[in-house]
């Protein structure tokens, strides 16, 4: 892979030089095992998004404090904060993907830190002045951009550090996003309780404290992170002489990747799998109570258990994918998902509590697993050159599913109940629709073939993309 690389001037200069990619290149002897914790520092913080619902009720009692009063925001109005954040997560990861590749992980992590922590501060101002639009802009827009940039900030870096175990590497980091909810939820409640008084629910102060805590924590990640030197290979690692059928040794630029059918097939799989997963996650508590008849306290425990499986699935499935292949891992997600979702109505009818919990835990582990296996799947298909930017564009499927999933579950349930169906059976149709979605996903996965060579990046030629060399010059030498 020896050769010459072209490095644009803009590449080596930045208005804050310490954030530059060139300043983050690891020195010889640097342990790659320092990089996953750096990514974890980011993901554990931005994973707070999954825990934002703990603020929903207190935000509806800012004036009344103990109960909602005239002038207080409604739950529906407050619910938009999370939706906007999810929308901007997908949009920011798609829009800034190439910038993240070009600028390197440290610059991206600092930008994510400023956006995410800044979002908390703006939201605190919104609570203090009782201006809901400020929270939409703060946590929703600014925080959402922080989520999107932070989520993709380390993906390509990790894949380049761990060419021998890309699934393990991204699994370690992305499991942090699932784990972030487990930290964010109790931490937020703890802070609100600490700052609550007779005249305040403590949300504004909790937002400021969270902004400071997460800001500091994410900064540690930005300080630690390093990119591997050009042509890096771990000691003892020999690339397979005959790579697996779907694992390319070529590179595809981000713009070219969007023109391949594989990109849209994966987009569909993520959209369908996430729609099913989010639909369940959002309604888990109500489903457990209505389908199985457990108490509200037990249902809260069920939601907690789901978040444990969401996190561990991200690590476990991605690691497994290094051994059985990405396509096979997705086959497992989709086939097993079809079987499990199809059996849920039967379990509900028989009130089989243990199997109900077990089935949903497996489903949610696969929901998380699909996210953590995705970067490695994209790396297999498109190479490492623009994998972070391609990953960013794929995440728009997440945003779309974030809207479609809850809508699907909520509206079908409401329609069923309005039609006279008992509450316990109101999710049956939804489950069968989920099965239908996963069958389409299975078909999409089946259709995924290696990317046609006309899409491969060439230093010069019809498929070359000038921007590609800019986003990752080191790869240009390998052509």
């Amino acid at each position: 892979m020896a050769g010459v690389s072209y490095v644009p001037e803009s590449y080596s200069k930045a208005w804050i030089p310490i954030l530059d990619r060139s300043r983050t290149i690891a020195k010889p002897g640097y342990s790659r095992w320092m990089v996953p914790p750096a990514a974890l520092f980011i993901d554990l913080c931005i994973g707070h998004a999954y825990a934002f619902s703990v603020f929903n009720l207190p935000l509806t009692k800012l004036i009344g404090v103990t109960a909602s009063a005239p002038g207080d925001w409604t739950l529906a109005e407050v619910g938009w904060i999370f939706s906007i954040a999810m929308l901007f997560l997908g949009s920011a990861s798609a829009v800034f993907g190439r910038w993240v590749e070009e600028g390197g992980p440290r610059k991206a992590m600092v930008a994510a830190t400023c956006c995410f922590a800044g979002g908390f501060f703006v939201s605190a101002l919104g609570v203090w002045s009782h201006q809901l639009w400020l929270i939409y802009v703060g946590y929703g827009v600014l925080g959402g951009c922080g989520l999107g940039i932070g989520y993709i900030s380390h993906v390509s870096t990790l894949i380049k550090w761990f060419p021998d175990h890309p699934g393990l590497a991204t699994g370690m980091a992305i499991c942090g996003f699932g784990g972030g909810a487990m930290i964010g939820s109790p931490l937020s409640v703890l802070l609100m309780n600490y700052f609550a008084s007779a005249t305040s629910v403590g949300v504004a102060q909790a937002f400021v404290a969270l902004g400071i805590i997460y800001g500091l924590f994410m900064t540690i990640g930005a300080i630690i992170v390093r990119v591997p030197p050009d042509g890096y290979r771990p000691a003892g690692y020999v690339p397979a002489a005959a790579p697996k059928k779907l694992v390319t040794t070529e590179q595809v630029s981000v713009d070219q990747a969007s023109k391949t059918p594989q990109f849209w097939l994966i987009w569909m799989i993520i959209f369908l799998n996430t729609t099913a997963g989010i639909g369940v996650l959002g309604q888990a508590s109500a489903m457990a109570q209505e389908m199985i008849g457990v108490s509200a306290v037990a249902a809260a425990g069920f939601v907690g258990l789901l978040s444990v499986f969401n996190m561990s699935g991200r690590f476990g499935w991605a690691t497994l994918s290094d051994y059985i292949g990405r396509k096979n891992t997705y086959y497992v997600f989709l086939l097993l998902g079809i079987v499990l979702y199809a059996m849920v109505p039967t379990l509900a009818a028989t009130r089989n509590f243990v199997l109900f919990v077990l089935f949903f835990c497996i489903c949610i582990s696969m929901y998380g697993g699909a996210f953590s296996t995705l970067p490695a799947y994209l790396r297999d298909l498109y190479g490492t050159m623009n994998v972070g930017a391609i990953h960013g564009r794929e995440l728009t499927a997440w945003s779309a599913a974030g809207i479609a999933g809850p809508v699907l579950v909520n509206y079908i349930r409401q329609y069923q109940i309005a039609s006279g169906v008992p509450n316990a059976q109101a999710y049956t149709v939804t489950m069968y629709i989920m099965v239908g979605l996963l069958v389409i996903g299975l078909l999409c996965n089946f259709l995924i073939k290696p990317v046609d060579k006309r899409h491969h990046y060439k230093a010069s030629g019809p498929a070359s993309d000038p921007a590609a060399a800019k986003t990752n010059p080191q790869v240009a030498v390998s052509q």
Binding site: M1, A2, G3, V4, S5, Y6, V7, P8, E9, S12, P28, G29, Y30, S31, R32, W33, M34, P37, A38, L40, F41, L44, G176, G179, A181, M182, I183, G184, S185, P186, L187, F217, I220, I224, P228, P229, D230, G231, Y232, R233, P234, A235, V294, V297, A298, A299, A300, G301, F302, G304, L305, S307, V308, M311, V357, P473, Q474, V477
Partner: protein, 48 residues
């Protein structure tokens, strides 16, 4: 613009002190462990 000479870079034996690696991992995983235990305690109510 600049022209960089580029060669294969095979990792030498990592010299980053193990204590430093361990410290960073502990710092990252400690909050996660706290959240994990907290969530498990909540989840335990499911079986009460």
């Amino acid at each position: 613009m600049s022209i960089n000479q580029n060669t294969d870079y095979v990792d030498a034996v990592a010299t980053t002190p193990k204590i430093q690696i361990a410290f960073v991992w502990v710092l990252a995983l400690l909050p996660l462990a706290w959240g994990f235990v907290n969530t498990l305690m909540r989840a335990a109510k499911l079986f009460h």
